[in-house]
Symmetry: C2
Subunit: 440 residues, 2 copies
């Protein structure tokens, strides 16, 4: 584990939706569903301001505007000193504000102003209000380039309206997709941003072998227990076999204590996949409540639950599944307060999920696959064509795989040699680190 | 005059349409009208290739594509050696190819591939064919950002399809608006372009005092003859007074030997303004036929004609106008082959004029004014509101003055301190140099 992880775990490890083939693992914002009332109670993150933005920065035909939300905090700021600017990603800005301790930790030392800008189409920064996701014509302005232009306008506004900021250097910060944006902001707007800290930013993910993500997830579990990994690996077929029996889905619903009857086996397996990935992303050495209420080293606890039993053999499918259930409760019910588990495949989807689904169907296709050999999952090859068809069915758009490379570079790390003052940090346990910048 | 001018005059000094208040001095492409059949007869500039481009790079809703034209020349290229890439501006690409000698001059020394990319909406690179300018919905994709993305895609295509270019460094070149694009290309696409030579690129024009342009034009004439400037300055009222007389416009038409009866006095004055500006832009120390067939030092010849007379006094308006006419013939009829002069205010407008009119009504508002004191023109204040209304009437769009500053920087030269490897060159006689980068 990188020595940086401890410092970085205070940074937000936001989660990017993993989409593959015809199914979309809506990793990101699983937590939003269960934490929809979980807002940062830090007063600093409730000091909202707004700015009017053009819906389309890159054209003059559409003159619609919308209200973008941001947080501006001067608690530590001194005249002329830096602006720390968080390039908001796929969610409510107060959540990022409340979970990006690193900026707050260092702001006093630098006498910095702290700004968190909400990403368009997320939180309350909705270009077409609650109709923003209602049709392709309204959604077409959900792109990273438009978001970066929002941020550039916002900084221009701050620097021309807040006395003492005229010459303030701007440092961009962000985690995960927000980290990508922080890096891109420095790359594309060097006249505004002098440097960026891009945490856990998988800017090479689009060009990274698709099995890297699942391999790292598996390695995180392997480092705790190979028996744990064996049980997980064997659980997929066990679930399938139970599901095929008469009353099998009802049995699985009961074993997992699901709130609603299971509609399909794949819903359950996708939900489990998400959970394993989430556990790998938040395998912090201290308790957190970021994605869920979790103990320190949650994978260790998960595997301890899965492997601790008087029985040494796994004689039946049901025995295997029951062990997995014991692990599942670490993630979904560590507090013991949860009566039943909602796998939510048909639940109300938050705007966060919708937004990232669209973005991963357009600019940020992040191939993820599993081969069952270097990972503990079922074989799930990456199929761009099928993914593209899924996107068209879902959003009436098709991804352009090459676009992010052309626009931002990133096919090779050497593409980025022309850029400067961007610090990339990654946690080695984070499965997204495979798509991150891990060398100087 | 800068010592650079001699080298630079081989570079294309393309001309940007100056628009102010309700009138648009269609400086650019006055020459296209008269030179519409004047194509580069250099074979190198006839080696066209095409590439399919997305009409909208910055969104995924519109999936239309169009054919972009470019010229790719390998005469001097060696495997792995640089690509010299001209970021095409507002006109047919073969014209820029044939008038950018600097690239051709140095290509052999660097064993460089030479590429000229045609700007969308100009030449034959029309996103919606001959309907491209027919409505605002079709025109909305005419922006510099879209053009730069075209160039990025084109280079990606070349580097993946032409063996030996994979590692070739790319140097961008351009003149005038093309120079702005070359600089912006390096700024925004540093992962593709390692450096840029931006010739006569008025990237600060949008923030330059509006009277700078006309002041420099006037200084160019003053350096030849203060009497010449006095005559030009007095000519505006002389023209007005003649025009107000019964049969006055007919008289002016006859004096200037116009092909068609003069419809309005302002048409004549705008046409003269354009000519003075053009003369300043192409006041080269050798004969050229770039904007017109001109002698070396055309302003010197112009003023010699205007001031050489046996009469020492200018007793009448008609005498003043006749002197101006003697100058006008230097620009419009130096060869003596022209039977009559077509001021063309109602002539067929080339796509180049249309395109730049749209661009100056959206991203690139370039304020130009005259005060009659530091310049030899009539008082013409800069009125953004009126200009904006003109744009809306013309194109159904309104300019956003701040956009180019936010997107590209350039309110202050120090905005650009974060960028590197961009060489700005200007000729001091060029009135656009006021908006250029004239210090390191």
């Amino acid at each position: 584990m990188s020595t940086m992880v401890d410092a970085l775990t205070k940074l937000c490890f936001m989660i990017i939706c993993m989409c593959q083939a015809s199914l979309c693992y809506s990793l990101s914002f699983q937590w939003l569903k269960s934490h929809s009332n979980h807002r940062c109670d830090d007063d600093r993150c409730q000091q909202f301001q707004t700015i009017l933005q053009n819906v389309d920065h890159f054209g003059f035909f559409n003159t619609d505007t919308f209200t973008q939300r941001y947080i501006l905090n001067k608690d530590y700021w001194q005249h002329g000193q830096p602006i720390f600017f968080y390039t908001g990603n796929e969610g409510d800005i107060d959540l990022f504000c409340g979970n990006t301790g690193f900026m707050w930790d260092i702001a006093p030392k630098f006498h910095a102003m702290v700004v968190f800008a909400e990403h368009r189409y997320y939180g309350q920064s909705l270009p077409y209000g609650n109709q923003s996701y209602s049709n392709p014509e309204y959604m077409r302005y959900l792109t990273s380039e438009q978001a970066l232009a929002d941020y550039a306008y916002l900084l221009d506004h701050i620097r021309t309206s807040v006395a003492g900021t005229e010459q303030s250097p701007v440092i961009a910060f962000g985690g995960s997709y927000g980290g990508m944006l922080a890096a891109y902001f420095r790359m594309k707007y060097s006249h505004i941003v002098v440097g960026a800290h891009a945490a856990s930013a998988p800017i090479l993910q689009m060009a990274t072998p698709c099995e890297s993500f699942t391999r790292i997830v598996t390695e995180d579990f392997l480092s705790e227990s190979s028996q744990c990994v064996d049980i997980i690996r064997s659980s997929w077929h066990a679930i399938d076999r139970i599901g095929l029996l008469p009353g099998g889905r009802e049995r699985l619903s009961k074993l997992f204590k699901l709130c609603h009857p299971l509609k399909s086996i794949s819903d359950l397996k996708n939900w489990l996949f998400d959970m394993y990935a989430n556990l790998a992303m938040v395998d912090y050495p201290y308790p957190t409540s970021f994605l869920a209420d979790l103990p320190a080293f949650p994978i260790r606890i998960f595997c301890a639950n899965v492997t601790s039993t008087s029985s040494k053999t796994l004689s039946t499918d049901e025995e295997i599944v029951k062990r997995v259930v014991k692990g599942v409760n670490v993630f979904f019910n560590y507090t013991g307060h949860t009566q039943c588990l909602d796998i939510g495949s048909e639940g109300t989807r938050s705007l966060g999920v919708l937004g990232w689904s669209y973005q991963s169907c357009t600019e940020f296709v992040m191939p993820i696959c599993s081969n069952g050999i270097t990972d503990m999952f079922e074989i799930q090859p990456w199929n761009f064509q099928a993914f593209s068809e899924y996107c068209f069915a879902q959003w009436k758009v098709k991804p352009r795989l090459e676009w992010s490379f052309v626009e931002f570079g990133g096919k090779n790390i050497t593409d980025l040699r022309s850029y400067s003052n961007v610090i990339f940090t990654n946690g080695n346990l984070d499965p997204w680190s495979a798509g991150g910048i891990n060398s100087s």
